[in-house]
C-alpha cells in the first residue's frame, strides 16, 4: 500500500544571483513498512526534498511546486498544498522526522522527559501522567537503561548515541506511519551507528512504519534499504531495488559512487577510481545531462547528445529506472 506519493516536486531558492534549483521535478512513492533510501552527495537535494514534505521550508522565500499525497489518519492529504496550521496536525503524528545532529536538535533547557511528553501532548488530549508513562515506555523501547529515572535527565547528560535514541523515542511517541530519518547516524561513531541502525530496523518491524532514510553512506544503504533513489544535482538519476542497484547500476554516476568508496571486503588496490571534477552549480545547471561534465562515458553516446539534451528517467528493468542515454530502450 502506497502511503506517500510525491509527484513532480521542485524546490527553488531565489538568490540575488539567480534561482538555486535545489530539487528538480522529482517523483517517488513510499509503501507502508518499506525503507526508501535517498542517497547522494552534499548539495544533491536529498535533505531539501524532505524538508519540503515536512513543511519546514519558508514558503515566502521558497518556490515549491508539485504534489505529495499522503495517507493520514484522516484520509488522503496533499502535504505540499496544505495550510501550515493544518499541517501541524499531522506533523509529529503521522509523519515524524529525526535529524542528523542529535547535539543541536534537543532543547538544552528542558529535560528529555518534558520534550517527549510535549510531543505526545500536542496530539493527544490526555492526562500528562499518561503521556509520561508513554514517554517512559518509549525510552525503554529505544534502549535507554532505567528510563523512569533518566526521563528527568537533560540532553547534556547524554552521549551522542543516547541523544539520538531520545530523538527516535520522541519521533515515535505518536506511532507515525512514516519516519523521515535525515542522516541519522552521520554524527555518530561506527560502533554506535551499528546500534542505532539495528534499533531502527527493530522498531520498524514493531511499528510497521515506512522509513525514508537520507544518507550519503552507501554502506548504510546496503544494509538498511529496500529501495534506493540516487540523487544528483537535484534530480533522481537512478531508482531501483537495493539488490538491483548494487548489482547492476545503470547510470555512470551510481557506478562511479560505488567505485570511489574504499571498501574493506576487497583487496586494497593501489588506486581508487575517483569521479573527476565536482557537482555543477545549482544556479546554472548544464543544458544536457547534469552529470555529463564529469562522466567518463559520454563518448559512447553519438553526437554529443549528453551535452545538449536532457535525459529522462526511463525504465530499464522491473522497478529499475535510470536517467541516462546509455542503455536506454534496452529492457533487461
Amino acid at each position: 500500500m502506497t502511503i506517500l506519493d510525491v509527484k513532480n516536486l521542485s524546490v527553488g531558492f531565489p538568490t540575488p544571483d539567480g534561482v538555486v534549483r535545489a530539487v528538480n521535478d522529482i517523483s517517488f512513492s513510499v509503501s507502508a513498512g518499506e525503507t526508501l533510501a535517498i542517497v547522494g552527495e552534499s548539495g544533491s537535494g536529498k535533505t531539501v526534498t524532505n524538508l519540503a514534505l515536512m513543511g519546514l521550508l519558508n514558503t515566502n522565500t521558497t518556490q515549491i511546486s508539485g504534489s505529495a499525497m499522503f495517507k493520514s489518519h484522516t484520509g488522503d492529504i496533499d502535504l505540499l498544498g496544505m495550510d501550515p496550521n493544518e499541517l501541524q496536525k499531522y506533523r509529529g503524528q503521522d509523519i515524524s522526522m529525526i535529524f542528523q545532529d542529535p547535539m543541536s536538535s534537543l532543547h538544552p533547557y528542558f529535560s528529555i522527559g518534558d520534550q517527549i511528553i510535549e510531543a505526545h501532548q500536542v496530539h493527544n488530549k490526555v492526562d500528562p501522567e499518561v503521556s509520561k508513562a508513554r514517554a517512559i515506555e518509549l525510552l525503554g523501547l529505544v534502549g535507554i537503561p532505567d528510563p523512569a529515572s533518566r526521563i528527568n535527565s537533560f540532553p547534556h547528560q547524554f552521549s551522542g548515541g543516547m541523544r539520538q535514541r531520545v530523538m527516535i523515542a520522541m519521533a515515535l511517541v505518536n506511532n507515525p506511519s512514516l519516519l523521515i530519518a535525515d542522516e541519522p547516524t552521520t554524527a555518530l561513531d561506527v560502533t554506535v551507528q551499528a546500534q542505532i541502525l539495528g534499533l531502527l530496523k527493530d522498531l520498524q518491524r514493531e511499528f510497521k512504519m515506512a522509513i525514508i532514510l537520507i544518507t550519503h553512506d552507501l554502506g548504510v544503504v546496503a544494509g538498511a534499504a529496500d529501495r534506493v533513489n540516487v540523487m544528483y544535482a537535484g534530480r533522481i538519476v537512478e531508482s531501483a531495488g537495493v539488490f538491483d542497484l548494487y548489482a547492476k547500476p545503470a547510470m555512470p554516476y551510481t557506478q562511479g559512487l560505488l567505485d570511489s568508496v574504499p571498501r574493506l571486503d576487497r583487496p586494497h588496490t593501489d588506486r581508487l577510481v575517483a569521479i573527476p571534477g565536482q557537482p555543477p552549480s545549482m544556479i546554472s545547471l548544464p543544458d544536457g545531462c547534469s552529470f555529463a561534465p564529469r562522466c567518463s562515458r559520454i563518448s559512447e553516446v553519438a553526437g554529443n547528445k549528453c551535452l545538449t539534451t536532457h535525459p529522462e528517467l526511463t525504465l530499464r528493468a522491473d522497478n529499475h529506472s535510470a536517467r541516462c542515454f546509455l542503455g536506454e530502450g534496452v529492457r533487461a
Binding site: E41, S42, S159, G161, M162, D189, V190, T191, V192, Q193, A194, Q195, L197, G198, H216, D217, L218, G219, V220, V221, A222, G223, A225, V242, F243, Y246, A247, G256, L257, L258, D259, S260, V261, P262, R263, L264, D265, H268, D270, R271, L272, V273, A274, I275, P276, Q278
Partner: protein
C-alpha cells in the same frame, strides 16, 4: 625504508580539569593520550584509527609539539624533541607538517590562497629558487589546482579544492613527515577518492611519511602500511594493514571492523555483526585494568584488575589478555 623517522615512546598527554572558583584546584586529568609507543619508518604511512574521543588527534598534535607532552619521549630522526622550546622547534617545522580535517576553518578567509601557501616561506625566511610566486604556483599545479587562481580567496573554492590548498601548504617546505588529521572525512565520497589518490601519489613522489589519523577504517586500509587502533588513549592493536584487517586479534578491532557497513547488500545482510553495547567511558576516570573491559564481551576478572600490555602475536602487537 628501514630507519625510523619518528619514534614515540610511552607518550602521554593529560589535560588538567580545574575546579570552579578563585582558588581553583586541579580535580583530575583528562587522560587523552595515555602511554602510547610506536615508530614510523621513512616513506611509510601509519594509520591511527579509533572513535571520537580516543585521543588520536591529541596524539598527532602532541607529536608535532602543538601540545606539550605530559610524559614520554618523541624522537624525530633520532633527535629527542620532547622538551624542545617553540624557538628550538621552529627550524624543525620545515620537516614536519600537518593537514587538518576541516578545510573550511583551517584557511584564513581574508587571505588569498597564494598568500596562505606562501606564508610558510615567509615564516621560515626561505626564498625558493625561482621566487615565491613561482614556487606556490608549481605547488598548486602539483596538487591539482589551477595556478591562475593564485589570487582567489578560500570561499571561492569547494571543500575538496580547499583540502588541496591545505595539502599544498603542508608541502611547501618539502617536509619529510606529515600528520594528516582526518584529511578526507569532511569530503563527499567522489571527492574523497580524488584526495586519497593525491596523497598516495605525493607520498611516492616526495618520499613522505604520513601519520594518517582517521575514524574511517576503509580509508585507512587503503592508504596505510601499518595501522594502530586506539581506544581511550591507548593503543589496543598495532599491525601491518593486511594482518589487521584479515586477522584482527583484539576484540575491539573485531567489533570496529564488523560495525563498518559494507557497500554491498548481499554480503552486508549475510554477515554477522558484533554490536558493542554502551559508549566510550569518560577518559577522566578510565576503567581499571583493560580500558575496554566495560564494553568487551570476553571480559573476565583479570581484565578488570590487570592492564594488558602490547605483546607480539605473529606480525601484530596486541594489548589483550584473551586475544583471538
Amino acid at each position: 625504508m628501514t630507519s625510523p623517522i619518528l619514534e614515540v615512546t610511552n607518550l602521554s598527554k593529560f589535560f588538567p580539569i580545574q575546579s570552579q572558583g578563585i582558588f581553583s584546584k586541579v580535580k583530575g586529568d583528562n587522560k587523552a593520550v595515555n602511554g602510547i609507543s610506536f615508530t614510523l619508518n621513512a616513506g611509510e604511512t601509519l594509520g591511527l584509527v579509533g572513535e571520537s574521543g580516543c585521543g588520536k588527534s591529541t596524539a598527532g598534535r602532541t607529536i608535532l609539539k602543538l601540545y606539550e607532552p605530559t610524559s614520554g619521549t618523541i624522537k624525530f630522526e633520532g633527535e629527542d624533541i620532547t622538551n624542545y622550546s617553540a624557538a628550538k622547534m621552529k627550524p624543525l617545522r620545515t620537516q614536519m607538517q600537518m593537514i587538518f580535517q576541516d578545510p573550511y576553518s583551517s584557511l584564513n578567509p581574508r587571505h588569498t590562497i597564494g598568500s596562505i601557501i606562501a606564508a610558510s616561506y615567509e615564516i621560515q625566511k626561505i626564498t625558493p629558487e625561482n621566487g615565491v610566486k613561482r614556487a606556490v604556483q608549481d605547488l598548486m599545479d602539483r596538487v591539482g589546482l589551477n595556478p591562475e587562481h593564485y589570487n582567489r580567496y578560500p570561499h571561492e573554492f569547494s571543500g575538496g579544492q580547499r583540502q588541496r590548498i591545505g595539502i599544498a601548504r603542508a608541502l611547501a617546505l618539502k617536509p619529510k613527515f606529515i600528520v594528516c588529521d582526518e584529511p578526507v572525512s569532511a569530503l563527499d565520497v567522489s571527492i574523497q577518492a580524488q584526495v586519497i589518490n593525491l596523497l598516495d601519489d605525493l607520498r611516492d613522489d616526495f618520499g613522505l611519511s604520513y601519520l594518517f589519523i582517521a575514524h574511517d577504517l576503509s580509508v585507512v586500509q587503503h592508504i596505510s602500511q601499518r595501522v594502530a587502533v586506539m581506544y581511550l588513549g591507548k593503543i589496543m592493536e598495532l599491525a601491518p594493514t593486511t594482518e589487521l584487517y584479515k586477522t584482527p586479534h583484539h576484540p575491539y578491532t573485531k567489533a570496529l571492523l564488523s560495525a563498518i557497513p559494507l557497500p554491498d547488500p548481499v554480503t552486508e545482510r549475510k554477515r554477522e555483526q558484533i554490536i558493542l553495547s554502551g559508549d566510550i567511558p569518560n577518559p577522566v576516570n578510565p576503567p581499571t585494568g583493560c580500558v575496554f573491559n566495560t564494553r568487551c564481551w570476553k571480559a573476565q576478572d583479570k581484565c578488570r584488575t590487570t592492564e594488558p600490555t602490547l605483546v607480539q602475536i605473529g606480525a601484530s602487537q596486541v594489548a589483550c589478555h584473551f586475544p583471538d
